[in-house]
Amino acid sequence: MMKILKAYKSGWTVSLNSKRMTSLVYLSYLILALLLVIPFYRLFVSVAGSSLLPDDLIRGFSATALGEFMREGGKAFGFYLKALLPWMVLFLVLGTFFQGGIISWISNDRGRFSTKTFIGNCVAYFWPFLKTCFYTLIIQIIFAVLVYLPVSILIGGDNLTDAHIGKTLIFGIAIHLLLLIWGTMIAEYTRLFIYRSGKRKVLKSLWKAFKFTLRNIHRLFGMYIMWVILPLALFIALYLIRMRWTIDPGLMIFLLFLVQQVFIWVRFLLKIQKTSIFYRYLVLIVQKA
């Protein structure tokens, strides 16, 4: 218990020191996102043309206004929806790229943040971490199959009620969520083991991470729950804010945009915090051993 608290506390200290790194990560992602958003904006303006109907979209939600609008430009907007998948792959690669820099910074968080060193570390660990990412994907697929294969057998019967199907599905999703989180922990520790050993043996580190996370599963989940409370609370707060606002629409759109961006920035910070909590915990365990 002490170790968990200690790790959690130190995660906070590190993340509070990581504001510049967070901003760097945030901005890189933002640029990639804007590559899609700026043409989207242009398309929106051109589809709206000289019509007054899009003004009905400014305040609140109107299915009629949005529907008419989408009918006018639906096919063109479809391109952007299709682009989301390759963009997610890009984000995944970019996220993997940053991991080297982030872990290096976390492990010696004293001193000034230097973009040059950060990028250098990103490059240094990119290849083994990309491999880790690939293996993690395979693990996640196996987890999903392990959950949904029996679930689909359980709900495939002839004479079932929808309540039975619904409850089985919810149970399956809950189990899958736990496995999903475990999978992210395995990935996280694989990278930490690779980093700490200085050797780039991905599969060996993966095996070590698998054993380590399994052995410490209750503590890791404990820390995870402590960590997840804040982003969850933020998410609920954001939701409540958007439900309550009834001020001037222009100002509202701007404020909401600002809040959303702060929210995204904070989530990057929190992700770094999670890595440093896990890292600190590993250090504490290793020190003791």
Partner: protein
């Protein structure tokens, strides 16, 4: 003393036990041309019903009637050759899944068995592939006469004279199909509809479209529903006693038998069809709305949503009573079927209907409410106003969907009555309009045709949603009090009769001219001609707004050789603004246009909408900034609302807002992608 009393007691007991006819309504609501007394026994092993039925029929015409015609609906499930099965893919496979109905004997008042003369009829022909209509003179396109067995003719030994009554005794056996198209069994769950030999409607000449007298019977088509006289039903249902039974009648009596079965006696008055259901698992909820006893039989997994259903039903009762007319029966029973019985969802039998829901549905998805409101609405539109659903489906499904929209939007909000979720919401009328306009080809069929004449699955969108949309538009044009008066008069004049399309249009014309004179023309026929009887679409647009300075006094003046050139002068502080309108589609509707000037002045213009283009031109100190066709959003049939307005100063605010939303979506997705590294 005892000896003397004994016969009196016997008479007394007989009266109360054998005549189960406790009347429900003090006065009959209809002519009760048909009366059915049925005793039926369900064999839960073989899924068969064996029934004895006494049928009374009164000849309503001036004709001598020489045969009886019955709907044998269950034969639609007999084999792949039936009209229903041949109109789409077959949906029954195993031997025990198929269903059928057979008359074993039919005895006339003289004691004569008429079965030897029975023959099946195929009154409907295959539709013409080219015209998508019934062929006029193409007998070679007729279906093989042996195939469909859903209409049965039984010649009478002794014809029925005008005004006379006939009573026949019928023994029949029905094998229920595996639940499909709203009837049958699913394991030990039963929804029993269209289950007995059902008399067609005899139409005297002059009734509806009948030029000659005759039976109006149609085959059981995949899309078609039903047409029947308002009847009296006394039905005894016998089945194992652990089943809970519900029906469109009022339960009069139950009686247990030594063999472990129980007989449930129901009576129903002035309804067009009698259906029933049985399940061992139903939970029964009872409630009251004014004079109406509400019964909701629900499978346990959906029981936690019972209140949602009952509240929705009360909204519908309240709204229809206020805006159309009273619900005359003191009872209504409705059903929440289990998932295995989902083929029974969403069907109406006047005082008895089925709702439909799914376990775990959030409050914001109003499926149980919507289905309840819709199906109950049919108590009015085909229950009380018993239209011919085979031939004029728009009159029940279209009108009823319009009322469903009004009730739902009134009770649950016009933007939230179908979906009310955190990031998305939509109302019933909005849904109807989009369902029509998002059809691949909204012009594929007009709405004024028989239910089996709709090509490529267009039946639902045209009959339900397009009809509802143009009825809503009519309401907005003539005003809600006027359309309410139309429906009140429709109810008073045609309740418990069989109105046709023209009867409705006549009332519309009558009421609209009373309230509005000739504001909309001599009659409203033009409206029905375009939106019901044709598939014309409507689209008006503001092509552009042009603003120029006004120049004058320029050009050449005087005779040739002595000409003087003067340069044009710009008239100061005067502008010529042109608002250019166009009609892009075929339908013609008068429209209003709101024109807005830069000093805030607004002018409401009117255009009859007949020509293909029309301009409004203004020469004044102010410039036109924007203009809007139909500023009050009455013209719901207008297929494109984007082009209904034009502004010279478009705002980019919506683009900023949605780009921000899109960015946030991408950022969330990228963080989601992060779980894989």
């Amino acid at each position: 003393m005892l000896k003397k009393l004994f016969p009196i007691i016997i008479v007394f007991l007989l009266f109360f036990t054998s005549t189960h006819a406790q009347e429900i309504l003090t006065n009959p609501l209809s002519e009760r041309i048909t009366e059915y007394d049925i005793q039926v026994k369900l064999d839960t092993e073989t899924k068969k019903l064996s029934g004895q039925m006494v049928l009374k029929w009164k000849n309503p015409s001036q004709d001598t009637v020489r045969d009886l015609q019955f709907h044998m609906y269950l034969n639609a499930f007999k084999n792949d050759k039936s009209t229903m099965m041949s109109e789409g893919s077959s949906f029954l496979s195993k031997e025990e899944n198929w269903g059928w109905v057979e008359i074993q004997s039919i005895i006339d008042p003289e004691g004569l068995d008429l079965t030897s003369g029975m023959r099946y009829l195929q009154p409907d022909q295959a539709i013409d592939e080219k015209t998508l209509r019934l062929p006029q003179e193409k007998p070679e396109q007729m279906r093989d006469p042996e195939t469909d067995q859903t209409v049965l003719s039984i010649p009478l030994d002794k014809p029925v004279l005008p005004g006379d009554s006939l009573e026949v005794k019928i023994n029949f056996i029905s094998k229920l199909p595996k639940l499909a198209k709203r009837t049958g069994y699913a394991e030990d769950y039963y929804f029993v509809a269209q289950w007995f030999p059902k008399l067609g409607v005899y139409e005297p000449a002059g009734m509806r479209y009948a030029e000659k007298c005759g039976w109006n019977t149609h085959e059981f088509h995949r899309n078609s529903e039903f047409y029947a006289n308002h009847s009296l039903y006394n039905v005894d249902i016998t089945l194992p006693e652990d089943y809970i039974v519900g029906s469109g009648g009022v339960l009069q009596n139950t009686e247990s038998h030594a063999d472990g079965t129980m007989t449930h006696t129901f009576r129903a008055e002035d309804i067009v069809d009698f259906a029933w259901t049985a399940s061992q698992e139903y939970q029964v909820f009872e409630d009251q709305w004014r004079h109406v006893n509400i019964k909701f039989l629900c499978h346990p997994e959906h029981a936690y949503q019972a209140e949602r259903h009952i509240i929705a039903l009360k909204h519908a009762l309240e709204y229809l009573t206020e805006h159309v007319g009273p619900y005359p029966w003191p009872h209504v029973t409705f059903i929440g079927p289990p998932m295995k019985g989902s083929a029974a969802q969403g069907m109406e039998y006047t005082t008895f209907f089925t709702a439909g829901t799914v376990w775990g549905l959030p409050e914001g998805i109003r499926m149980p409410e919507l289905v309840t409101v819709h199906e109950f609405g049919h108590a009015y539109f085909m229950g009380i106003l018993a239209t011919n659903e085979f031939e004029e489906p728009w009159m029940d499904e279209g009108i009823n969907t319009y009322w469903e929209g009004r009730i739902m939007d009134h009770a649950y909000g016009s933007k939230t009555s179908v979906l009310d979720l955190p990031f998305i919401n939509i109302g019933d009328l909005e849904t109807a309009r989009f369902t029509y306009l998002l059809m691949k080809n909204p012009k594929i069929a007009d709405g004024y045709r028989a239910s089996w004449e709709f090509p490529h699955g267009s039946y639902g969108a045209v009959i339900y949603q397009k009809s509802a949309t143009w009825l809503h538009m009519l309401e907005r044009m003539i005003g809600q009090p006027v359309i309410d008066e139309i429906f009140k008069r429709f109810y008073q004049r045609w309740g418990f009769k069989h109105p046709a399309t023209q009867d409705f249009i006549d009332i519309v014309n009558e009421v609209v001219s009373e309230y509005h004179g000739d504001l909309f023309g001599e009659s409203m026929d033009w409206y029905f001609d375009q939106f019901l009887k044709s598939s014309k679409m409507m689209d008006y647009t503001i092509e552009s707004i042009r603003v120029r300075s006004i120049k004058e006094k320029g050009g050449l003046f005087g005779e040739s050789g002595n000409q003087e050139f003067r340069e044009s002068e710009t008239v100061e502080n005067m502008f010529k603004s042109e608002v250019r309108l166009e009609r892009l589609e075929e339908a013609i509707v008068p429209v209003e246009i709101l024109v807005h000037f830069d000093n805030g002045d607004e002018i409401l213009e009117r255009w009859d909408g007949k020509s293909r283009a029309h301009d409004f031109v203004y020469e004044r100190a102010e410039k036109v900034v924007w203009a809007k066709i139909d500023p009050e959003m009455k013209m719901l049939m207008d297929a494109n609302l984007m082009n209904n307005s034009y502004t010279r100063e478009p705002s980019k605010m919506s683009a900023v807002k949605y780009s921000g939303k899109f960015l946030f979506l991408i950022q969330n997705l990228m963080q989601f992608a992060g779980i894989f590294n």
